[in-house]
């Protein structure tokens, strides 16, 4: 009986060798597999998520509807410092958050809108703008003009964005892994540093900074020295340094500063 089995097995393995790599079910050259332990995670339950009617990002105008457009001063302090509005989650689960200051013009907004609308699945996800359409006029003089002759004409409109501001919020019956790729693609094209966060990861990020402040071993803090104007250091500092405590330099955020 054994010899018959041996012949059968031998014949089958010969068949396999003859077919080369197009082997069917036998795979005699592979090693023996034994049953092992594998625990699988339970997938998340999205049954309580309500999706809005309009799920894609709305079209944003290039300029506001002004009858008489007025030129404005440069006012660069709308880029400086941390954001106080639109810096928390509302309805969505994931967001692109600005990690520095900058101006978003219509080209950036269109890029975000088109990329996200094209790549997301409207059956399961929705996206919301957290940033206004361009409203700040930016002037430019013609090419090759000499200095003087008044302020230039309005060239375009931009939206100022501060550190910590949300740009786009995404939510729905999705997990981070599905959405992250699309959103990092968008985040890398923005004119300032931006990162993709989920609710949990943003909370962890903020907690990390709070812990850094707590367990800082340095007895000297920027705040203490500037508040007390020790050594007359405020001669070389700006009034904004009192608010920002050395964490910001112009429009840049310094993450290693506590």
């Amino acid at each position: 009986m054994f010899s018959i089995i041996k012949a059968a097995v031998g014949g089958l393995t010969a068949l396999c060798r003859v077919n080369g790599h197009q082997q069917g079910l036998l795979h005699g050259h592979l090693k023996v597999l034994a049953a092992g332990l594998k625990t699988r995670d339970i997938p998340p339950d999205h049954s309580d998520v309500v999706l809005p009617d309009r799920r894609k990002l709305k079209f944003v105008n290039k300029m506001p509807n002004f009858k008489n457009a007025k030129k404005e001063m440069k006012n660069l302090k709308d880029i400086q410092g941390p954001a106080t509005t639109a810096n928390a989650f509302t309805k969505g689960e994931f967001a692109i958050v600005a990690m520095g200051g900058g101006y978003l013009h219509w080209g950036h907004i269109e890029m975000i809108r088109l990329t996200i609308n094209r790549k997301m699945d409207p059956k399961t996800t929705f996206a919301r703008w957290r940033v206004n359409g361009p409203y700040k006029p930016v002037t430019r003089k013609g090419l090759g003009m000499r200095m003087g002759g008044g302020k230039g004409a309005i060239d375009q409109y931009v939206t100022p964005v501060r550190y910590g501001r949300f740009i786009v919020e995404v939510g729905g019956k999705v997990e981070l892994g599905e959405i992250q790729r699309i959103m990092t693609e968008v985040a890398q094209k923005l004119p300032f540093k931006a990162e993709v966060f989920s609710r949990a990861s943003l909370a962890a990020f903020q907690k990390k900074h709070a812990d850094m402040e707590q367990n800082n071993q340095n007895p000297w803090t920027f705040k203490e020295i500037t508040l007390g104007n020790m050594l007359g250091i405020r001669k070389v500092l700006s009034p904004k340094d009192l608010c920002h405590n050395g964490r910001f330099a112009g429009k840049f955020h310094l993450p290693w500063r506590v």
Partner: protein, 244 residues
């Protein structure tokens, strides 16, 4: 760059210096990182973040023992199987499998099945935790790496060794035969032992050696017996004379 001094009228609240030196260079917000005043650089370095000291590098000390977790249902099932295996079988051999293919496995299984030996696979983690609680705790060091269990009701060691000799990838590590733990060499010497009946016969014959010899002598011709006894007396006297 001309240095201009600006006198600014300040409100009575707040403490700000009356004169501020403003150089006309770049503005506060620039695309590049503005070069810091040397004093500000010093201030930033003095007030840098110093993290708390780490207790020990991550790999310095051995990890504490992992606390006992509750077994999941699959582990419990496997442990039940193991318990029945250890109760029913007399021979449990642990063999290391270094990459045998599926057809080699099939051949080996058929060879052993003829002699009533089954080949079993169990996860090492589960086996070790099972052995920890049972009387066979000294077998735990055998279950490291890719192991296979050969189980049989009767200790058929010779057949098992012959089939292992022919297989290229199987290496015997140890065995538990009749509740005694044996190493690989121990198993080989066990296989060379004669069977139980033979040993019993030898023992019996050894015990009854003298009585059987006397019985044989008595059965022979009495003349031979008398000759033997005379010889024996002569020998005794000859031994007695040189001693004295």
């Amino acid at each position: 760059m001309a240095a201009t001094l600006c006198r600014i009228l300040l409100p009575k609240q707040g403490w700000l210096p009356f004169t501020q030196c403003v150089r006309h260079g770049s503005k506060a917000v620039t695309r590049h990182k503005r070069p810091l005043h040397f004093l500000k650089q010093k201030l930033m370095s003095v007030t840098r973040y110093i993290p708390p000291p780490r207790p020990a590098p991550p790999g310095a000390y051995p990890r504490q023992t992992i606390r006992d977790q509750e077994d999941d249902p699959f582990t419990l099932l496997v442990k039940k199987n193991l318990k029945s295996v250890f109760q029913e079988s007399k021979m449990i051999a642990v063999v290391q499998n270094s990459g045998s293919t599926a057809d080699e496995m099939i051949l080996l299984k058929y060879k052993l099945h003829k002699h009533g030996i089954t080949v079993k696979f169990f996860p090492n983690q589960v086996v070790r935790s099972f052995l920890k609680d049972s009387t066979y705790s000294n077998m735990a060091p055998l279950f490291i790496g890719h192991t296979v269990l050969f189980i049989s009701k009767e200790p058929k060691v010779k057949e098992m060794l012959s089939s292992l000799r022919t297989s290229r990838h199987m290496l015997l590590l140890g065995a538990c035969i009749d509740n005694t733990l044996l190493s690989a060499q121990g198993v080989v010497s066990y296989s060379k032992l004669p069977s139980v009946a033979v040993v019993q016969g030898e023992l019996v014959s050894g015990l009854t050696l003298l009585t059987s010899q006397t019985a044989a002598m008595l059965q022979r011709h009495p003349a031979q017996l008398s000759a033997l006894l005379q010889q024996h007396v002569k020998q005794q006297s000859s031994e007695g004379a040189p001693k004295a």
